[in-house]
Symmetry: C2
Subunit: 580 residues, 2 copies
């Protein structure tokens, strides 16, 4: 896969679709959604055009493969639920794979790019971006796919409702609330588990049918029978009680290719009556184990009320400045160099960002327990935002994030390297010092072997940590891309050998990771495939998503096994950047 | 359906199975699980034998139909996962419907009885009752289907672990932890949503295959490849992180007929460091609306940390004494008579049972807020358990339940009437005074029309209430059973007309209730049926459960439309017990 001139690249048509059939599909799609809402990828238009790269909804902006591998043939933006249904039915008629996305972020996991090159993107967010309801009494919102954290937050501020209701935001506020929840993303307030905090879905199935899950399946009185299904009044408990009656289906529509979520309820947090963010810095790299063992009981007891993070110094360093600000070297930083950066930034090797919620007496009581526990680590220091003299420190940024104020601050760490692209590698870790230390050691070693700095954070859930390793590479440098691929594939293998699995991944790794969840001869995948084939017999919806291929695809043919496997790192702890 | 001599009763063979084929099935089943673990229902053995009624695992102890309608042809008790798999495969071979149950409770919702008369019960709890792990660090347990609340609690006490870990229990402690969670039952501590607090399942699918969901699908290192799948070491994150990678499947195995859960993780609550139960009584029937409007914001803010209940006076009255203790009359009690009972018991018309958790300063702060809010209702009174002079008041009982100490106290209210049988009618209600008052008014009126007292409780979840109406009837009285059926069917209709749906139900109501969740021409049911037919092409697993029928059954033929619909109540507010 050395360059875009090699077969099988570029593929700009859906697989097994003739140019004539594709044109007929596009014409029909235009008649459904309007000409202005169909974008066809022009094979004559070079994809390395910068403007195209920045704006396009057809590929992965942070491409770790050649940028024209994971690329759509066209993007269609329906103007409402009936048009989503019509496009899905059209895809069945033409047997064209579609790849739905909401706001088009999913940064670090493939962006808007489809798993099968040549799929037709369905861009839900462009025209379907209404906040359908904000209910103060029930503390929830009902939203369309294009509603982002920014837009819901702005709406609450403008209407004065932020006095009553807070949202939960992930690191970047530009994403879709639906998109993030169905990918099972995390935020950082007590409502950080976005799937857990969703309530009720309206879904277009692969056959074009429309379902409402949970209580949404029960018609609300006063509906006019002649009103189209998607416009029927929501049941008053749809956003209040998730499970409804009978099988609880919502989970199978997350990280899945079984349907397109076109409406979703999300629970909002009542204003807790007070808030205080804080940071605790820890001076030594090997403090990790002790810190994590302190986190566990505090989180289980809900003394840590929210989803706090324990961040590696280089993540904070990268938010502040590019690598070139700190050093001229191009190889991974040594421990001494990292210590130097920490000292310069007045931060620890590990930095813990948390917050307490509630009236002042409650906050103070919690903070006392938190300080008493963490400050047993020698050299650790406690900071409130006002203790930081920088104009806008990471603590200031996190203080916004942890109260649900969306931002794009965290985008900055992607500029650690020139032309910075990035990938997330996200294994689940036990909240245990020994496990965290081992997982850190294994992943850090591989990052260095691949010639990259280790940049990462532990995101603390109820009983697990999402360990997010941030791989920054120069996306204009084929060798760095190759090494990033090697690194990902190698870490997946290493982690599986330790019993660690990833919670989410970039397109390129989906098959490999799905394959590590192979208990009892891949029984879970067989279950997923059986359901997939029953609901999507033509295999049109997001084939290959999270490793689930419909029977209409020859899975073996589609699994990536790129040349990145051939690259052998120069040797432990002696990695050099081959361009240096 | 007037008596057991009418067709199509009794049916003691699986449908479309000859006596010879059934005998062959039984012989094979005996060879799998051992003769001692197969019980065949002997058609010559009259089902009204008292001993049989009390011990039998083949029918509904609280039968609201003739007691030999919902009845199994045999019960098979596997001794381990491979035997569950073998029985399921055997059922496919003979096309015999099976009806799995765990400990065999499900009281008020059909007990162990199968939906299709003549199904073969699979009793999981008899031999598969091991606590596989209690993990203090991760605060979870991994259990088999036969582990009850009592057995897990006793284990924690005996091992000294109750110092560290609390369980959450429903009203009755005899039930299976797995059985309750997969039926989406509730308890009353902060961990009251049992499905939300489960983590990881091992499931036998309808084809006999074994899957582990979530992180359980990722093999733990150190497993011997020659070890059978079900004995493989659990992944260390299986009970820590629910979602794993790809579609999150657990929900479709709840209230469903898609698989048999043979292992499940359940999160346990770390000892909160302090605990205090309390009761607040409210004197007037029409205080309901004000109380519920006080509950909502307190629950949303987690000032009410757990799942509290607001109980109708007659529920508490029935826990203390049978109706005959209070009155000689056989008709529904009047308001004046109910007031008299409340006065006699020194309770309110509504009684709120809650608890606060945590160190004393936290508890006191919360209690202050709680008292200030509720005691604005004129005549309301606050009690701690020590304020009650009765030897064992309902507050004493709830004080145990709300700290996860299992009991059978609540069984007593079934004795409100002689030969008390009972049914639950369980609509979901918004936490809103107006909604709760209307739902109470609608259901109470129907109870009285049917000649029954209204007995019920509101169980407060995060943003909804499970309104549990307890219908007590004399199970030896065909007329009372008929009226109970009329009452259930009528309340389902009434509630659907208001947009209210039930979260769970007795076998007899499954089709009717499923049918109320009929948005967009029953789109959700079609989805459920498509998945059902894909996973269970022979339709052997619990056909008809929660209204989901496999294609191999003629659904129309199986839906119950009994003569109970013909009974017309004598008139609003003038109902009399026809036996009086």
């Amino acid at each position: 896969m050395a360059s875009s001139t090699n077969t099988p690249l570029p593929r700009r048509l859906p697989p097994n679709v003739t140019p004539e059939a594709f044109q007929a599909f596009i014409t029909r799609a235009q008649s459904i959604v309007g000409i202005e809402n169909v974008t066809v990828v022009d094979p004559q238009n070079p994809l390395d055009d910068g403007t195209y790269m920045d704006n396009c909804k057809t590929h992965d902006m942070h491409a770790v493969y050649e940028r024209d591998y994971f690329v759509a043939s066209a993007v269609v933006a329906p103007r409402g639920v009936p048009e989503v249904q019509a496009i899905v039915k059209l895809a069945n008629e033409f047997v064209v794979p579609v790849w739905p996305f909401s706001a088009g972020r999913n940064v670090g996991y493939g962006g808007t790019a489809p798993r099968v090159p040549g799929s037709v993107g369905i861009e839900l967010g462009k025209n379907m971006n209404k906040i359908l309801e904000v209910n103060v009494e029930g503390a929830y919102a009902l939203v369309e796919p294009g509603v982002t954290y920014f837009s819901l937050y702005d709406h609450l501020v403008e209407t004065g409702l932020r006095e009553h209701l807070w949202i939960d935001v992930p690191d970047l506020g530009g994403g879709s609330i639906i998109g993030n929840a169905v990918e099972r993303g995390m935020g950082y307030t007590p409502y950080g588990d976005h799937f857990m905090m969703h309530c009720g879905m309206e879904i277009v199935l692969p056959n074009g049918e429309l379902v409402r899950t949970g209580m949404g399946a029960l018609p609300e009185p006063g509906n006019n029978p002649s009103v189209a299904a998607h416009e029927q009044k929501p049941n008053k408990a749809w956003q209040l009680f998730n499970y409804g009656f009978g099988p609880y289906n919502d989970g199978i529509f997350t990280q899945s290719n079984l349907g397109i979520v076109v409406k979703m309820g999300i629970w909002l947090m009542p204003n807790p009556g007070g808030y205080q963010a804080y940071m605790i810095t820890f001076p030594r790299d090997n403090d990790l184990s002790a810190i994590v063992d302190i986190i566990r009981p505090l989180r289980l007891q809900m003394v840590l009320q929210n989803v706090p993070t324990l961040r590696h110094i280089l993540l904070d360093a990268a938010v502040h400045n590019p690598k070139s600000h700190y050093t001229d070297k191009n190889t991974p930083l040594t421990d001494a160099e990292i210590d130097e950066i920490a000292a310069k930034l007045n931060l620890g090797r590990w930095n813990f960002y948390g917050a307490v919620y509630g009236p002042e007496p409650i906050r103070n009581a919690l903070l006392e327990v938190i300080k008493a526990a963490f400050l047993t680590v020698p050299g650790s220091k406690f900071y409130l935002p006002e203790d930081r003299t920088e104009e806008r420190s990471v603590l200031h940024m996190r203080s916004d994030t942890l109260q649900g104020i969306p931002s794009l601050d965290e985008l900055k760490w992607v500029d650690w390297l020139p032309n910075g692209g990035h990938l997330f590698f996200s294994p689940i870790a036990k909240i245990s010092g020994a496990d965290a230390a081992l997982q850190y050691e294994v992943t850090k070693r591989r990052c260095r072997e691949a010639g990259f700095d280790f940049i990462g954070t532990f995101v603390v859930g109820m009983r697990d940590m999402h360990h997010i390793v941030c791989i920054v590479f120069d996306r204009e440098d084929p060798d760095q891309r190759r090494r990033a691929r090697w690194l990902m594939r190698t870490m997946v293998k290493d982690c599986a050998a330790h019993g660690w699995g990833e919670y989410r991944t970039h397109l390129a790794l989906m098959d490999q990771i799905a394959n590590t969840y192979n208990f009892n001869d891949n029984a879970l995948m067989k279950l997923n495939e059986t359901i997939k084939n029953a609901l999507d017999p033509n295999g049109i919806m997001a084939p290959g998503k999270n490793g689930v291929w419909p029977a209409t695809y020859d899975k073996e043919k589609w699994v990536l096994s790129g040349d990145e496997e051939e690259w052998v790192p120069p040797g432990p702890e002696t990695a050099t950047n081959t361009k240096e």
